[in-house]
Subunit: 138 residues, 3 copies
């Protein structure tokens, strides 16, 4: 059982691949060969997911699609004082998730060929984001 | 490895913060300092998520937003005999999730400042809900 | 800590219950009595969730609902060269999830009475899918 908190650099609004950042942390602070990596984001307007790692337009289509599923300025919103991007960011964060977990096999993230870890920044100016990595295994 | 099943009181339809209930269970039945808490809900029309813990209108906007994303009485629904709130409840439960996991650090849930654990009750009269808490750590 | 990769048979587009396949794997390769099962799908256009296990029309309504939430041929899609079902499949996979976890109690999946594990196939011809099962416990 290993645990580490890291701070990501600021990302622009949208979907960003952070697989190499996570794999590097894993390489540096643990010798676990078989187990599970849990990544948790300590924020309510950014989130984590796993998806396609090759074509940048997939991430652009994620941004476009989530903006349609959870529109800004919906007439029913009551929580509006933090900006028009804030309430949609909360909903998007829960639709995606505040954590993800990936099997570790032979000391590496056992992702599929086309899978990458996404940091999903839902605010216009979210700033840096804190993650807690927890690794269970042997 | 510790495991415990608990029963929540009945909640009205909507989104409710249950962080203190979960933290109290954690305090009572484990001395784990570093690890992971897994919470699982044994139901298909209520769910769990993590989101903003301060402004009650955020939870009201969750209810409003999910009612728009997954409307009642959609013309394509075939599963209608348990009431107009039932099929949307199933979809909402899968959009959110039947489980969540949070790192434990220094014996406490390592949530961000603004994060709380939500019980998401999607039925009009869901009754009490059962959770299974599993704690892994040392 | 046990880990095993399995290959599912091809499923048609839609939502399919695979609980018995997963329980059988659990029975065959582990004696763990108390713990957690983590299931990870190594793909970006199929996903995993837990929902109602009794009425087949629930799974049909899942397919209908997700096709409305994430339509094919949305005018903003840029990633279109893999077919009209591809980009929606990626979005659906992240809305649902690439992994799920279930408590193990007395050596069995501790699911609620009405809960089943769904394989969610979002492609028209997705082919066989690989899962990684990781079991933590004692």
């Amino acid at each position: 059982m290993h645990q580490k908190e890291i701070t990501l650099p600021s990302f622009s609004r949208g979907f960003h691949i952070i697989t190499s950042i996570i794999q590097q942390e894993l390489d540096e602070f643990t010798k676990i060969k078989t187990g599970l990596l849990h990544v948790f984001i300590k924020h309510t307007s950014a989130s984590l997911t796993i998806n396609e790692n090759a074509d940048p337009t997939v991430r652009e289509d994620f941004e476009g699609s989530f903006n349609l599923i959870v529109p800004e300025n919906a007439p029913h919103y009551k929580h509006t004082f933090e900006g028009s991007d804030d309430m949609p960011a909360h909903i998007k964060a829960s639709l995606l998730d505040s954590s993800l977990s990936v099997p570790i096999t032979n000391g590496k993230l056992n992702l599929g060929t086309w899978q990458g870890i996404y940091l999903c920044e839902h605010r216009n100016n979210g700033g840096s984001r804190k993650l807690v990595l927890t690794i269970i295994g042997s």
